[in-house]
């Protein structure tokens, strides 16, 4: 602020100065208010939902507070349908990862070995499932497989979810591949390595961090998917469908107990990953 004009550079009257200070502080105050509201908006719903778990009220709420209980965890634990839904979701998630990881990686490698024009076309096709509403993916899958006499169920859930989750994997692997020095492959070839050995010893280790991250994201996407799953589930009930059905047909705080557990797991995972990241960064500095 050295370039003040001659007019304002002259000493101003005291009240003007105070006003000036206020007007300079105002944006900052406004921003703090905004930030507070934003965080409240983001977390209050989750906190209220979690808190309702401990209310004895049969309908999950925090107003009025009828009494504190741990009973809803008990009820959740005894809910066979919930366990079934949970195991199904986990199984579907693993199956989707097992499919999307190799296919997404192959797609990324395929893209990087095309010339610019062909790459543009294939890229658009591969990314399109991400820009397609989930319901449309579910419906398209359902219609195609009905022609083959296969109706909704776990198989179609995996297939429909993998359709767009593969695209996420592809993008993450492509991002990593962009930092890959292709000369490494040539160097290995020049040293007499077979194509398989180059893939196993040079390319795959390089892709490993991206593949781990992609597997995590793929699993998460599958585990929390609802829109696509809804159309292809047939009579199978994964966890998200189970929760949504509960909300409409007989919501009790047992569902909140489930939400609370998932939130806690999420927080723990996020913290573990962050600590891991910090440790790794620290380690690199030492070296």
């Amino acid at each position: 602020m050295t370039m003040t004009s001659p007019v304002t550079a002259r000493p101003a009257a005291r009240p003007v100065k105070a006003l000036d200070r206020l007007s300079r502080a105002l944006p900052k105050l406004l921003f703090i208010a905004y930030l507070t509201l934003f965080l409240a908006y983001l977390f209050l719903p989750l906190i209220i939902m979690s808190a309702a778990t401990f209310n004895t009220s049969k309908f999950p709420t925090v107003t009025p507070w009828l009494g504190t209980t741990m009973g809803w965890f008990q009820e959740l634990w005894n809910d066979k349908a919930m366990w079934k839904a949970l195991w199904l979701s986990l199984g579907i998630g693993l199956a989707v990862v097992a499919f999307a990881l190799p296919v997404g990686t192959a797609a990324a490698l395929f893209l990087t070995s095309l010339d610019a024009r062909a790459r543009g076309i294939f890229y658009a096709v591969m990314v399109s499932p991400l820009l397609t509403p989930g319901v449309a993916i579910g419906i398209a899958t359902l219609i195609l497989w009905r022609q083959a006499g296969i109706g909704g169920g776990t198989f179609l859930i995996v297939l429909a979810q993998a359709t767009f989750i593969t695209a996420y994997v592809m993008l993450m692997v492509v991002a990593r591949l962009q930092r890959f020095d292709r000369a490494q492959e040539e160097a290995a070839l020049g040293l007499g390595a077979s194509k398989w050995m180059i893939f196993r010893r040079v390319l795959l280790p390089f892709l490993k961090p991206a593949l781990i991250a992609a597997a995590f994201i793929a699993f998460l996407q599958s585990f929390e998917n609802y829109n696509t799953t809804l159309f292809v589930r047939g009579t199978d009930t994964p966890l998200t469908v189970y929760i949504a059905t509960k909300v409409r047909t007989g919501l009790t705080p047992a569902v909140n107990a489930l939400a609370l557990i998932l939130i806690a797991l999420t927080i723990v995972t996020a913290l573990v990953m962050e600590l891991n990241r910090r440790r790794k960064e620290g380690g690199r500095k030492e070296g």
Binding site: E186, L189, A193, S194, G287
Partner: protein, 360 residues
């Protein structure tokens, strides 16, 4: 004695673009051979087709008198060192070095032992378990060389491997590379755009421009007797003045130029009456305050002190830029900027080269 490399009329085209035109050279076994040229001149293409990453569109590549047509990179007796080095970042140093042995199915204990020997050779003993990112630029350089040498290649191909290093380290690595080459006796083919690098290390240098071979010669020969105007300008500093040949006699030629008439040695195949340029190295220029035979009248522009000597920049009245080396002991009489001077030279120290084919 390691293998020789013979390039016979090699040509490489990418679509309509010819990256390499009719290139022929014989590189003797155990020779340190450099290919020098500006970026985009086709030198990397040439190296890649010796390595077998690409096949030439025409011509033949012989390594150790054996035709390499159809033999892929992994089965040629060559190893390449890449500009980026292309070390494997996720393997420790020893696994990098032993990678080629691993590819050949050598047992682990033996690989480890060989890696240690090579680490000894490159003066990095005990570095085997380090990761690549823990090494300095010069150390990485040496690891890349060891990795290439591990497969006992007959011919080592080096693609500007020193370009990422800073000047001091680069100069140090030159000497080290040269010593390593002498010690191992492997044929080195070295690509660079840095003429001082090529001159410092090589037994012979091939100069290339726009895919065309200009000259193959020893460093001294290249500097003293460039075969083409391109080589004269590219290798070292020079003064080049264009004109027309008027008279050829006993190996000397006379050139009339906008700056006047000059006499110098006639280059090979120079003909009377054709367009040609006279080239005079800055150190052949003598500074005087009076007009002498074979001299150019000019105005001093600046004097750049370079340590062992100084470089005088001047401009003639026709706008020709001129360079002259001023030895330290003459610095006292160096001209002021704007001062009128004359730069003269001995005819034996100037070379007149035809500009006929140079337009290409």
């Amino acid at each position: 004695m390691s293998h020789s490399v013979e390039l016979i009329d090699v040509e490489q085209a990418f679509g309509d673009v010819k990256a390499v035109h009719h290139f022929s050279a014989h590189i003797a076994g155990g020779e340190f051979f450099s290919i020098l040229g500006p970026s985009g001149c086709g030198k990397t293409t040439l190296l890649r087709l010796i390595a077998g990453f690409t096949e030439p569109t025409a011509g033949r590549v012989l390594i150790g008198d054996k035709d390499m047509a159809g033999i892929p990179a992994d089965r040629r007796p060559t190893a390449m060192i890449f500009q980026s080095l292309a070390l494997f970042p996720l393997m420790p140093v020893w696994e990098n070095i032993a990678f080629g042995l691993e590819a050949r199915g050598v047992p682990k204990a033996q690989r480890r032992k060989r890696a240690e020997e090579l680490l000894e050779l490159i003066a990095l003993p005990g570095y085997g378990t380090r990761m690549v990112h823990e090494l300095s630029g010069g150390q990485r350089q040496r690891v890349a060389i060891a990795r290439a040498l591990a497969v006992e290649p007959q011919v080592l191909l080096l693609d500007e491997p020193l370009s990422a290093l800073d000047l001091k380290l680069r100069q140090h690595m030159r000497a080290e590379l040269r010593a390593l080459q002498k010690r191992t006796g492997v044929t080195f083919i070295y690509i660079t755009h840095d003429q001082s690098e090529a001159l410092a290390m090589s037994d012979r240098v091939a100069v290339m421009n726009a895919g065309v071979l200009q000259q193959i010669a020893t460093p001294q020969e290249l500097y003293a007797n460039p075969a083409t105007p391109f080589t004269a300008r590219f290798v070292g500093e020079t003064n080049g003045i264009i004109g027309t040949v008027r008279g050829l006699e006993a190996g000397l030629a006379t050139l009339t130029t906008a700056e006047g008439r000059f006499t110098g040695r006639a280059g090979a195949g120079l003909e009377d009456g054709e367009r040609a340029s006279i080239f005079i190295r800055p150190e052949a220029m003598a500074l005087s305050r009076i007009a002498l035979p074979n001299s150019l009248s000019a105005r001093a522009v600046s004097l750049e002190y370079e340590g062992a000597s100084a470089m005088l920049r001047a401009v003639s009245e026709h706008g020709q830029e001129l360079l002259a080396t001023v030895p330290n002991r003459q610095l006292g009489e160096a001209p002021q900027a704007g001062e009128q001077i004359w730069l003269s030279f001995q005819p034996e120290e100037a070379l007149i080269l035809s500009e006929k084919g140079a337009a290409a």
